[in-house]
Amino acid sequence: MSAADLTIAAAGAVLRSGDLSAAGLLDAVRRRIAETEPIVDAFLAMDETGADSAAAAADEAFAAGTDLGPLQGIPLAVKDNMVTRGVETTAGSQILAGYRPPYDATVVERLRAGGAVIVGKTNLDEFAMGSSTENSSFKVTHNPWDTNRVPGGSSGGSAAAVAAGSALGALGSDTGGSIRQPASLCGVVGMKPTYGLVSRYGLIAFASSLDQIGPFARTVDDAVTLFETIAGHDPSDATSYRGDVPQVRADLESGVDGLRIGVIGELAGEGMEPDVLAAFERTVELLSGAGAEIKTLSLPSVEHALSAYYLIAPAECSANLARFDGVRYGLRVDGDNVEQMMAATRRRGFGPEVTRRVLLGTYALSAGYYDAFYGQAQKVRTLVIRDFEQAYAEADVLVSPTSPTTAFCIGDRTEDPLSMYLSDVCTIPSNLAGDPAISVPVGLDGQGLPIGFQILAPALGEPVLFRVARAVEDLANFEARPGLTAGEAGA
């Protein structure tokens, strides 16, 4: 086994035993990247010098007896919509090609302060708009389980990197499922924290009331480690939560005996692939066998959440993306006056999906349509929040499949934007409600593709969320790894 396949926890133990240095671990990960990157294409930029000096600093710290915590010396990847000082950050868009930010995002700062080694920036749908990573303006990322298929999106690069062993963990961002859906399609753990628990300072904004940064890892325990590192108040983000971060370690191994688990009726039947549904039902039975009380609950507004989302998210995106105007950073296409310059810059700089959403959002916010579209969507959001509140009076957590399907083939849905949007039907409600949710791999379908199981909890319910996720991980005992790396000659 290569050190690239170690969990963060196991790698941390090996580093502390002295059997392997942080530089050696980084080497193993780079060998894996060299093997898999030509077929997976998970990364947009590598930070060679930054990673070398971070690994050297970690080794010096170990030698000096300094311990910055569980991420010291651990190679990680960061989605390319989080800014990294001096390292090219594009959000997958031509409008930011070549942009070297003058500062680190708060989450990046926190990883560095914990001694982590950031190996590179991962591919994504342009500005995180998409569910397959095919909307990146630079390249398509391939699913390590079947390279003809998409890794999901928009954080497809981070999910594929963690699945392939090109990083021990990664950060992604989740606006409508962009962490959980690719985690499901790539067979890794992906978690969206409660809105406000993780700072968005330095995250290139898509839809500000929905965006949240969260971890990818190969185990629930590793996801907890990353969550604990990045969560916490940040004065630079005005929407950052000011209270204490919920303590999740204490209850992590407590199991599900006596917990009330609600199956979301609307998301556990029609529209789900048979193999996905079978894996979901098997997992629910395992939870029941472990002592959980299972009940099916109805959340009627969930069926309208997707429609509301595709009005709210484009509206916020059209406002956020107004900053890309060719003046302060990124691309500029010349024009005789400032309006011509801006229109020409945005036309060349934005890809088709971004253009679609900017048009849709501008329309939904325009005078005469505001009440019918945006205003009505904001009311539906209230209905979703109320439905969740009612459900959590009867259940400690809710569960559903993470994605209606396993990984689909590259090119299958690009011509029909609406079919792509439907990939997110199970994940979008938690973004509208601002609640935490996690996807845990529980099995493979008939074609050998991973299936994810989604757990949802009320706001600040991370302790019960991770606790149930840890139990699901144990019960499902999913240990398969993509064939891409299984045949690798040991490093």
Partner: protein, 84 residues
């Protein structure tokens, strides 16, 4: 308002795609929301205040270096107003 500078052909293509998406999105209009207040945010948040203190900012040169065109300590852009 979107300032994306589309040609007539492109506009027609987007019009067809956006028509489908809007039709789906318009399903929200079928719901009775007469008595429902809108939620702009998921969590009940009020203004976030901080002390009015001078803090360190990003380095001006580093920020301006990322601009497509600068003029000394300024961003440079084409004229906003026509000369009369």
């Amino acid at each position: 308002m979107a300032r994306v500078g589309l040609s007539k052909d492109e506009l027609e293509r987007y019009q067809a795609q956006l028509g489908d998406i809007l039709e789906h999105a318009a399903r929200v209009q079928a719901l009775d929301t007469e008595a429902v207040p809108p939620s702009a945010h998921s969590l009940p948040m009020v203004n976030a205040f901080r002390p009015d203190e001078v803090e360190e900012t990003l380095d001006r040169d580093e920020v301006l270096d990322a601009a497509p065109m600068r003029h000394g300590g300024y961003f440079r852009a084409p004229p906003f107003l026509e000369e009369s």
